[in-house]
Symmetry: C2
Subunit: 350 residues, 2 copies
Amino acid sequence: MKAIDDAGMREIDALYVSNMGAAPLQGQLQLGAMMADTIGMRGVAAVRVEAASASGGVAFHEGVKAVASGMCDAVLVGGVEKMSDGLPEELSSAIAMSEDQEYTAYTGVTVVGLSALLHRLYMERYGATAKEVAMFAVRGHENAVGCPHAQYPFRVSVDRVLASPMEADPTHTLECSGVGDGAAAVILVPADGIETGVEVASTAVATDSYYLEGRKDLLEFDAARKASERALNAAGVSHSEVDVLEVHDDTTITGVLSLESLGFVERGMGASYVAGGNTTRGGELPTNTFGGLKARGDPLGATGLYQICEVVMQLRREAGPCQVEGAEVGMAQSLGGVGSTCAVSVLRRA
Amino acid sequence: MKAIDDAGMREIDALYVSNMGAAPLQGQLQLGAMMADTIGMRGVAAVRVEAASASGGVAFHEGVKAVASGMCDAVLVGGVEKMSDGLPEELSSAIAMSEDQEYTAYTGVTVVGLSALLHRLYMERYGATAKEVAMFAVRGHENAVGCPHAQYPFRVSVDRVLASPMEADPTHTLECSGVGDGAAAVILVPADGIETGVEVASTAVATDSYYLEGRKDLLEFDAARKASERALNAAGVSHSEVDVLEVHDDTTITGVLSLESLGFVERGMGASYVAGGNTTRGGELPTNTFGGLKARGDPLGATGLYQICEVVMQLRREAGPCQVEGAEVGMAQSLGGVGSTCAVSVLRRA
């Protein structure tokens, strides 16, 4: 309803609902029809889009296609996740469904467990320190201060991060995004005739080996590399033109590898780049400007749409204490599983 | 791979996977990336689309939008369901997730149970007999004879249907589609420059009250009515021009109500229309020409794409013993839950 009020329109042709875990967590399918009915839009075309934790970013991509097709004049893309139902182990098991059940998840490894393998390999191969990697979480919390929609809008010291329990060695609990309920929504319309606002310059989705052991290089998210290339090419935007960036930091190492795989930072340099302050609001590449998955929150199927909303807030200059000055171009990146799917969107101030 | 071989092309821009129950049944999410990897298309944009048992029809609609958007030149839409895993009660519970868990499914009612309420009301309001309604199943089985991909390609007498156990009074077991594994896929490309083949004249999706008690009239699938109107208008096709029709008969009454809600038969007359032989291959409105959900099979997330493939086979005149002579226009209709979502597609021989 906030998105509808903001857009000042109620005529919607199609509804995309992104959600990851309602079947295992709430026993609920067909969220498209359910949401249409719930928000008083009974009758509208509605569908659920799912790509694990990339669901929100991918749904945005589908919404953009719907408008571009000429078959829709106004599309609502809404993401939702209710993670607070059920026991922690049920939640862990639902999240692990983003990995192959027969060859990976059945071993009992969690998604953070897989990510932790990359974390260790990264430190070993590039000589990055635990502290440098952990700084990704610290930067997120710094940015979240003053953000009304952030789950954890307060600073956390790197010592506190490193003193928190091991979630999966070498990844500490405070290096992982938390558990939370959340929803985010956007409305997409054709850009013709619209003079001010935010324009979708491009969106792209790519996939990688579904199994970590099938990757050419464990430390490059090939789906992120491909989606970034496709989106930047389609938008005619270069890396240096991106003023705000939202990346998928469900763990610190995932955030670091995303920065590198998207092509913003040289490989092996992501952790020190972040530790050095380059991703802060006043830095070279303001990243996760409302706290990212770590501090703003990570309600799975909604996360990718939080990112889009945040980029829109930045480009509209409505980001309040989180505002990046003069932001003209923003990018959002969302990962499904440990990088099996990646959605990248580039938005521009019109 | 059959679709790819048939199309003679391997360059695909996007993959849509329709699936309903892999999370509850196999503990598996993110089937887009999984399928892309499995069929050797790692890297391609991939997403799962879900609208319960309408997933296949809705995914087709999304695939059409993707091509129409100009963002994709070739799209693979594939549906899959593996219903044979797990215990019968686990399957029933997974299927019930298409209804609202907090207000409907929690009571223990199954989807067939809800459908049975409509079945009884239909007989009471319109004076239709149990035998007339059951004839929908008999007609399906007649049509399935000789169909290589049908699950039950043999005749079943109406007496046998009515002698089968009650699944949910007054709906008999042999009035319900069975349990089966299956997959179906199509490839969509722009029609420009293609002289022969099958053209997508239109697709449409609509929704209805998510809760049966919210319906204006329990005996009209409003989503089917809306989707049919939208699709026929967009295609510029009238009801009488439809040569082959595939409807969603997960129970006999659902098939009957679909015929009526789509606008082909006057309300209250669907059962006697079918009993009278009008939907046979040589009849006025050849319907479920390979057996429908009842006899061809109903692998949930794949079912809507089976329908599309079957319409294509008819329009290409490749339906073998199931061929409807001179078929030029076909329609497929897929329902999610007890009519909460409906997808309708109109195809034309080019």
